[in-house]
Symmetry: C2
Subunit: 501 residues, 2 copies
């Protein structure tokens, strides 16, 4: 669309950080607002050279801006690549046609392959506002998508971003359905598998609703924001990597959806399967193990639900040419002791280093997953995977491989403990009978995880532990005193996180 | 919760208008952000004296603010009643428990009466962010609520706000399920009914997804933002009023939900019934007529759907003690000629003034609804309602009543025509066969309605009209040249708004 001269405005950096959604600020009494009829919250296109962003308008009624100026939020400045004084033009955003499909989905009707393609492309191109994203997520929450829709959504997500290609025929990958605090087996599994010479170019996500994702935990030890070229290089050299998937745009629409899912603290069967498998397929994986922990307060609560997931993962995998196998595991309590990026990284290092005090449950779980991958690759016969994995871990070869991967990614650093700690003690004597994983995760999040990498919970009372009155059950770690006090305050009103009888 | 001194900040007015959602601005390197661990988009409580608001945090990295200052959006300043230099304290927002219920609903599960009560109270208290509101709306879109849930939602909405009480035993009200552009019968119906001595304290909403709500149209002729006391006074004096429901907080949660529904451009059966009937019940109505226009491009598309709505309205009405009757009407084309606040008001005046050129369809429809109300009141026998209504209208008694109501509400002014107009002409000769109400409404909205009261579409080619090539089908009215050009631009790509054969 051609731009009238009045649509040209001069950029002013206001230093306002509005997170992911781009916000622009214009004077309400400016010529452009009056002539174009812009009002607060209008969605607009801002153009600089051949770059475009979609932004939401906030009106300014003060001398913070001149009539000919436009203020841009930090991310908007960065994405457009503009600085103070540059000239940008703004124009109306045409109605987004794919929102019609989102509406149909909200009414619980099935939508077709083309609909998912349009929605996902528009999301990847930044056309959706946060409330439109929230509506799409809510409309596809729970079981609202059928198998065919999940396949279409997955395919649309794969095609919306970059893809990795590998020369090897077998490319391994693994994923764990979250909800189980700790359980940071990935760095251990990747180290074991890569040590055998098999290829496992692992990209992981940051936390969605949990206190830490694998990428958050690994980032406390080595850089994870690798480019596609860097991933290629690390994997060519070491057979494996531990990268953050978001920085390589393997499934950019998913990365955007995840930020709103996080704010809403919800999961959707369809979105979850599409999110997981689209990333695997785009990363060029061929054989994938999915771990599904089951427990009363895990993300998956019943065996029935786990079997359903297993079925969906397999069926969607088949449809997109991925060999997918799921392992259903015990999700009744945290794996390892740390919950939060740095605390989980410390557990990982203890296992890799074969330290005496290393959490045995984390070690056992890592061997289970690594063993399944070794067998799935067909390089090792059925029934021998776990034995081989254990040997590699206990011989120190996994640690060596882990260190080499970290060095290839940019170097290794020891994760740091948090500044403030408070011990939470048992109010009575007895045996730990049950643990509320969700609330434990919430405590870690309130303490600042994953935003503050060293924040979280250090948990030392697994089910079956005999405790005395006054014995420490877990420690809350925080970087900010205010946040810590607030967390302790919340804890008082949240009983039964750890049930003792 | 007690506040450390560091939580006290000094207010600075930045003159930023963020519409309904409150935004606060704090420096990211301020002591409070570092000690409390606040990050962009954190939801916070801002307290001044005994007033609280919930706000979303934007971080500032510039000298726009000092370390000890807090910038507040315009609405936030207004709601807290603070000015430059006042001291406010900020604190964390505790997790909102009712969001758990929203999540359950997103998973398509039924939630109970207490759940709706908690959700609606939290919404009325401003605890929900826009994306949380969007999720709740999407989760209850379409048929996602069953009858019992709709009743609970309605009751929760009624109890969340103010209630009007009247001495008379029969209090009349009417509502039209939108989607039919124009159709501004309400001011005519209220004038007729009030002229008979029956009581009709009408509160109307502003547009949700349409180019104009009744309140928007009436506001171009007389003030509609009346307080509860003013409504009482007008009705005591004139038996009827034409007020905006939002300003009297009859169903405050609904007012908040509507702003997000508008942005999402969706409707939900449950939300709609709850929205309509909660406002009627809170306004003290006892007998209500609901008009359900049916047409291919109206909000309700089939007779079957209309019968379903009729059933739900009656059942929910019974459950909350309201006598509700629905009239299913023809919704195949606009009623009247104007679409947009001022243009619709001009149609209303033409009918009330018995002008020769008054739109006859609007007159007929108003008599139909008024007649039904007169009969429902039992003051007039079955079969005589329309005859009485017609006499009152044609005798000028309705106009007199309308003028008296306007004067009681603060005075009457003639609605003004828009600054810019473009005629859209037929490209061929033939007969008008069908009209796409949705697209016609969209054109009026793109032209600026309802934000610019005089903007909209003036429509002069109902179904059956014989048109020549080059003959005007409708005129687009706009307050801004840019908006007008943009609308014409969109129109080019939107064929078949008016089907001519």
């Amino acid at each position: 669309m051609e731009q009238p001269a009045s649509n040209i405005l001069q950029v002013k950096s206001l230093g306002i950080d509005t997170y992911r959604e781009h916000i622009i600020f214009i004077r309400s009494d400016s010529h452009i607002c009056r002539s174009e009829g812009f009002t607060a919250l209008t969605r607009l296109i801002v153009t600089y050279g051949d770059k475009n962003i979609i932004a939401t308008l906030d009106m300014v009624n003060s001398d913070m801006l001149h009539h000919f100026e436009i203020g841009l939020s930090e991310m908007a400045l960065k994405q457009l690549g503009v600085k103070n004084g540059d000239q940008v033009s703004i124009s109306h955003l045409k109605p987004i046609e794919s929102l019609r499909e989102v509406r149909t989905k909200m009414y619980n009707k099935k939508i077709d392959e083309q609909a998912y393609r349009s929605i996902i492309n528009d999301i990847a191109n930044g056309l959706y506002s946060d409330i439109e994203l929230a509506a799409f997520i809510a409309a596809s929450a729970g079981d609202n998508l059928d198998l065919e829709e999940i396949i279409w959504l997955t395919k649309a997500m794969i095609d919306s971003g970059s893809k990795l290609k590998w020369e090897e025929k077998i490319i391994l990958d693994k994923h764990c359905i979250g909800g189980l605090p700790g359980n940071r087996v990935t760095p251990i599994v990747v180290s074991i598998v890569a040590a055998t010479g098999l290829v496992i170019p692992k990209t992981s996500s940051r936390a969605i609703t949990s206190p830490a994702g694998t990428a958050d935990a690994v980032e406390t030890m080595t850089p994870v924001a690798l480019s596609l070229e860097q991933i290629k290089q690390v994997v060519d050299q070491e057979n494996g990597c531990l990268a953050w998937g978001g920085s390589v745009k393997l499934s950019p629409a998913d990365d955007i959806l995840i930020t709103v899912e996080r704010a809403l603290d919800i999961d959707s069967l369809g979105q979850m399967i599409a999110s997981v498998l689209s990333k695997k397929a785009a990363a060029g994986s061929t054989h994938v193990i999915i771990e599904i922990p089951v427990g009363q307060t895990a993300k998956v609560r019943t065996g029935e639900e786990a079997l359903k997931l297993q079925h969906y993962f397999k069926a969607v995998g088949d449809a997109i040419g991925l060999r997918v196998e799921s392992l259903i595991t015990d999700g009744s309590q945290p794996i390892g002791r740390g919950i939060g990026p740095a605390l989980e990284a410390m557990d990982v290092l203890a296992v890799l280093r074969n330290q005496q005090n290393a959490p045995q449950d984390l070690k056992t779980r890592a061997i289970l997953i690594a063993g399944a991958l070794l067998e799935l690759s067909t390089k090792f016969p059925k029934g021998h995977g776990q034995r081989v994995a254990k040997e590699i871990l206990e011989s120190g070869r996994a640690l060596t491989k882990f260190q080499r991967i970290c060095i290839a990614q940019g170097g290794f650093i020891e994760p740091k403990p948090a500044k403030y700690q408070v011990e939470i003690k048992s109010e009575k004597r007895g045996t730990v009978m049950a643990i509320d994983n969700r609330r434990l995760a919430k405590i870690a999040k309130l303490a600042g995880a994953p935003y503050y990498p060293s924040a979280g919970v250090y948990f030392i009372s697994p089910i079956g532990t005999q405790v005395e009155k006054g014995q420490t059950l877990f420690t809350i770690h925080s970087e900010a005193e205010g946040e810590l006090n607030y967390t302790v305050d919340y804890l008082k009103s949240a009983d039964h996180i750890i049930q003792i009888e």
